[in-house]
């Protein structure tokens, strides 16, 4: 693999490659470049996410964090005219941008939680079942079982169990975001991507979501974009720094936050740059 000049985390990647199977790489981003109307947004990004770990993508605003996240489950082409110009992403060894790949199936297996939670115009229970009803992946469970187990996992069950047929629009923002996560979990995904899931929430709800992420970690790889460095330190195992569309450094969170190798990363962490 050709390592771009800015990348200084080759050490960590090699170690990861030799890691035992239980720490297998789920996402492998190779030299990914994304451009929009000739203007490049991502240039030669390299990254990886390991199973049963949380990868935090951090960096100043405008560095392309959300764009990178969206390439990882092929929702980029839905929301903008930006296109992947070179490189690829491997998910469990399969190419996401290969010729035969069905983007919709990608989205079924890798689900995303967005910044601003949005309730579909239906009841709480139906919201949870939205994807399940389509994909019909009941897996032998009844719809009540699915609703209950997903809502329990996100810690919402006790609050809403008596009003499952109420419209979801009546929930508070914090509850709504947990509902969105439950909705994603109901799809039985193999990975979850989160785009600044707590930025629209108050500190209490944020805390609950962070607990939820830590609770989900043993079951699913999670990739989270966050602009909150403290949050990244709290919940992530690996951190990836993006700056101006390029991946500067990826390493275990502990090492990166205490001994960053890249100067820009160090400046960012110590608050010299915003």
């Amino acid at each position: 693999m050709i390592i771009p000049m800015e990348m200084t985390c080759s050490l960590t990647l090699e170690e990861a490659r030799e890691a035992p199977a239980s720490e297998a790489r789920i996402f492998d981003v190779h030299n990914l470049s994304v451009a929009f109307n000739g203007r490049s947004i991502l240039r030669g990004v390299n990254a990886m996410a390991l199973d049963r770990q949380v990868l935090a993508i951090v960096g100043p605003s405008g560095s392309g964090k959300s764009t990178l996240l969206r390439t990882m489950n092929r929702t980029l082409e839905l929301t903008s005219d930006a296109r992947v110009t070179s490189g690829d992403i491997h998910f469990k060894g399969e190419r996401l941008y290969g010729n035969g790949t069905d983007p919709r199936l990608v989205r079924k297996r890798i689900c995303m939680v967005h910044q601003k939670p949005v309730a579909f115009p239906m009841s709480i229970g139906e919201n949870v079942l939205f994807g399940v009803r389509f994909h019909k992946n009941w897996n032998g469970r009844t719809k009540d079982e699915i609703v209950r187990s997903c809502l329990e996992r996100v810690g919402l069950w006790d609050e809403v169990k008596d009003r499952l047929s109420d419209p979801a629009s009546r929930l508070s923002v914090g509850q709504l975001q947990r509902l969105c996560i439950a909705r994603a979990l109901a799809n039985d995904p193999e990975a979850i991507l989160m785009d600044e899931p707590c930025s629209a929430l108050d500190p209490v709800s944020t805390g609950r979501i962070e607990e939820l992420i830590l609770a989900m970690k043993p079951h699913l790889p999670i990739v989270i974009v966050t602009h909150n460095l403290a949050q990244a330190r709290r919940i992530s195992d690996q951190s990836l720094f993006l700056y101006d569309g390029q991946s500067l450094e990826q390493d275990t969170t502990e090492r990166i936050f205490t001994h960053p190798r890249n100067d820009r990363v160090r400046d960012f962490i110590t608050g010299k740059v915003g």
């Binding site: 990608v106 297996r109 689900c111 939205f130 629009s169």
Partner: protein
Amino acid sequence: MHDTAVLSPSANVKGSETYRRSVLRDRLWRATLWFCGFIGFLLPVSIIGYLVVEGIHCVSWRFLVDYPKGTPLGTQGGIWPAVEGSLALASIGLLVAFPLALGGGLYLAEYGRSQRFNKIVRFLVECLAAVPSIIYGLFGYAFLVVFLKFGISLIAGGLVLALIMFPILLIATQESLRSVDDAYREMGLSLGVTRFYLVRRVLLRKAWRGIVAGIVLAVGHAVGSAAPVLFTASIYFSKGGLGLDRPVMTLPTHLYNLVSEAISFDQAFGTALVLIAGLLLFNASAMLLRRLGGGSPQ
């Protein structure tokens, strides 16, 4: 007055004089605008009021369900065939136009990938929405009545009304769908569902109010048009009974007939009132529907 206190005594008197004059002008201007608004309010109220006052004595249940009678025909009796005909025409028009407009609006809002294509189509449709109703009448006559040999018939009139309704419905559908926040699309599609599932379960539920508003606008416009119907479907008097291949009476053409042949102004007031009241009721019930459908579609 404020101004003289604000301006220090050292300011020249002429200065404060001009200021006061411009404040006066400002007040006059505001009064003029209020007057304009008042007229704008007075006009519809007085027109409707006048029609109600003059026509109410004529309208009764018998008036609605009875057939035209008397000599000359129409001086007495009721207007049932006209009511029937108007309802039939509007229904046929809606039945034909709505599916086409819904499909078209759906395509433009959700499926059409090329922005240029969408803009061109939308431009065409908007232009055609402004075509004068007499032109629809000319076309309906030449194409449906003569060329396709439908004759002056319910079906010809219904199809012309469908043509009139189509642009209005299309624009309403497209706009209602467009107004749904993109976040719904992103969130839904990133769960791996197809666009059609998303449209069906989320987008249409969010957009239905705008679509209903469009239907009300389109139907109201069509029911009230006399010009296109005059040459494609209408007949002066009919014995009732609807047939797709037979001409019908309609409320606006009946009104026109009563007036232009000077048959009966009493009946004309009644007919006008029924027409207006019908449209108002239709509008009001649609508004009620939207209020009720209100907070929470399941």
